[in-house]
Amino acid sequence: MSPGKDVVLDVEGARVQFEMDRGVARVLDDVDLSVSREEIFGIVGESGSGKSMLAASMLDAVEDPGVLSGSITYYPSPDEPVDILELSAEELRQLRWEEIAMVFQGALDSFNPTLRIGQHFQETLSAHNVDRQSGMERARELLSDLYLEPEQVLASHPHELSGGMRQRALIALALLLEPEVLVMDEPTGALDLLMQRSILSLIKKLQRKYNLTIVFISHDLPLVANLADRIGVMYAFDLVEVGTAEDVVEGARHPYTRALLKAVPNLETPYAEMQPIAGRAPDPVSVPKGCSYAERCPLADDQCLDVHPPYDDLTDEHRVACYYPEEAPAAIPLPFEDQSVERPDDPPEAAGAAPGKEGSR
């Protein structure tokens, strides 16, 4: 977005639509996003907000019958743009995993149950014409980096490994072909708290060692805040706030981001103990014409309901899709911010919707 930055992945107007009986579901709604080289970019949002769609779009891997449009540009070097959506099938096949790799949501069943872990590494090497000897050496190194016993893991079948081991083996497999970019969709979803935190430190370590660009997707804001350099917050199929981790956690300006933060008493609170935000996200078949958060927002007014808010660039790094970014902190106070003394008796459940409805009429 900001010129002069070393962008590695540039997403512009990315849109995913599904033809359904009820109508057309737009599950990714003109998303713009630039990922800089060697950063960790975190994407958070509630379930169904389109995070996985955005992740899949980055590899042009949205599954049928979803249709992806817009433009996704990959920069192997700053002056060498590759338009991912224009690639031939074979070029795309090579780009995936060699340049941009992915760890899927539901990673625990990303291995073929009838093959050994080692066979997954080998078949990937030969599919991309990489020398098996040196490729397997890299596999062993990656597995050791992830605190796994290489020989033992390579000889195992998936069901013989614990969830955490499988998860780490999958990360090793994703890094096998030395990709520039690693997209991780909920890589910690199925793990317990301790395992989640230890995977995070491993991811940080790998990022530094291999100079990776990582797109890290989670519904767990505290988790992402601990890891990412920059954070994008998704709501109803689009990004509503993007900024550095400090911008988004300490200076959040979008009412939805603030509601998310308010639901978390402190950043160490596990996701499972968070309070839900009242109200429901819009249906992808009929997204409101105005701000998609208006129905749950305490600040919503007629303008919000009528016209989709454009991005407001607060700083070079920090942008918010909201008409009232300046008013948001006072309207949705956070317990760990000083201004929260305004309404100290607020129960945490009242994080938005009820007064929002009245305020908008």
Binding site: L59, A61, W97, M102, N112, P113, T114, T124, A127, L173
Partner: protein, 335 residues
């Protein structure tokens, strides 16, 4: 190893148990076969003394009247374990000889039936899954369900009547033509296939549908798996995905079905071989029941039981080789 012995032991116990049970049933149950035989002889020879009738019954059932039932059981079982199934009262030949000569023919028909059932089922099921929701899928799903709902013996009788008697396209009985000398020649093989065609067709047509629908369901499940999506994005070649990913994972669950089909097919063979007058194990079993030839009946029964148990044991022992998730063995149960 311990597990293997355990499995083998259980298999043998199953066989011994079933054989003993049928031995006892034949002899002891009131209104059982022996009483029936006795009644029949009495009806045909109203003047005969009951001692004479008993003697006749014992001769026909090959029972030694001087022995108690327990002694009879022990002596029968011990000769069975020595491989001696007695002498057929109807044919006058050793039961062993009759059954050993018949067995290859039954196995021939069953092997062909299984081969075609599974080849057609797996192939068709895979294509249906691949074209899920298409006209092809819809048509062949219906066809599969239709054929699967016809009993094999009904189709057998129909084939025999129309294709053999009415149209004279296939033989009405027998395993091979007298004109073709038995031996390893192409002519003999073709002749054997010609004779086996209708029984095999009756089996295959009434069974492929079940396998096709099972394969279709399994494949569709695999197509939705995460590992399949991951494999595609890793850029694996289409052939590897089709065989190592979809094929292997979809066929695996059919393996146990295959082995169990061997059992049910032996059961079906008794009836089909009778319909097509095809002298295999089933045919002789039917003849033996008709003629109250107990040694032959028991012998055929033992062979069929053993084959079924052996097939299931084989499935159990080899499943671990093809499905790594099952290789633990100890905690698994197939029967």
């Amino acid at each position: 190893m311990h597990w293997l012995i355990n499995r083998l032991g259980r298999a043998i116990l199953t066989i011994v148990g079933t054989v003993s049970l049928s031995f006892v049933m034949i002899r002891l149950i009131p209104g059982g076969p022996l009483d029936y035989l006795r009644g029949q002889i009495r009806n045909q020879n109203p003047g005969m003394s009951s001692d004479a009738i008993d003697a006749l019954v014992e001769a026909q059932a090959a029972i030694n009247p001087d022995q108690s039932i327990v002694e009879q059981y022990v002596s029968y079982m011990s000769s069975v374990f020595q491989g001696d199934l007695g002498t057929s009262t109807w044919y006058g030949d050793p039961v062993n000889q009759i059954l050993i000569e018949a067995l290859p023919w039954t196995l021939f028909v069953m092997a062909l039936s299984l081969l075609f059932t599974f080849a057609i089922g797996i192939g068709l099921g895979a294509v249906m899954a691949y074209k899920e929701g298409s006209r092809f899928d819809y048509t062949f799903s219906s066809v599969s369900i239709f054929f699967n709902s016809i009993p094999y013996y009904v189709l057998g009788v129909l084939f025999l009547f129309v294709l053999s008697y009415q149209m004279d396209l296939f033989p009405t009985g027998g395993r091979s033509s007298d004109a073709v000398p038995v031996g390893f020649s192409v002519a003999f093989l073709l002749d054997a296939l010609y004779h086996a065609a209708l029984p095999v067709l009756s089996f295959v047509l009434t069974r492929f549908g079940f396998q096709a629908l099972a394969m279709r369901g399994n494949s569709i499940n695999v197509l939705g798996e995460n590992y399949l999506r991951a494999a595609k994005i890793r850029g694996l070649p289409g052939r590897r995905i089709a065989f190592q990913y979809v094929g292997r994972n979809a066929v695996l669950p059919l393996y146990t079905t295959l082995m169990i089909s061997i059992g049910t097919m032996f059961g079906g063979a008794v009836i089909l071989e009778e319909i097509f007058a095809y002298p295999g194990i089933g045919y002789y079993m039917f003849q033996a029941i008709d003629a109250r030839d107990y040694p032959l009946m028991m012998g055929a029964f033992i062979i069929i039981t053993t084959a079924i148990v052996a097939a299931i044991l084989f499935a159990d022992l080899t499943y671990g080789l093809i499905d790594p998730r099952a290789s633990g063995g100890e905690t698994r149960e197939t029967y």
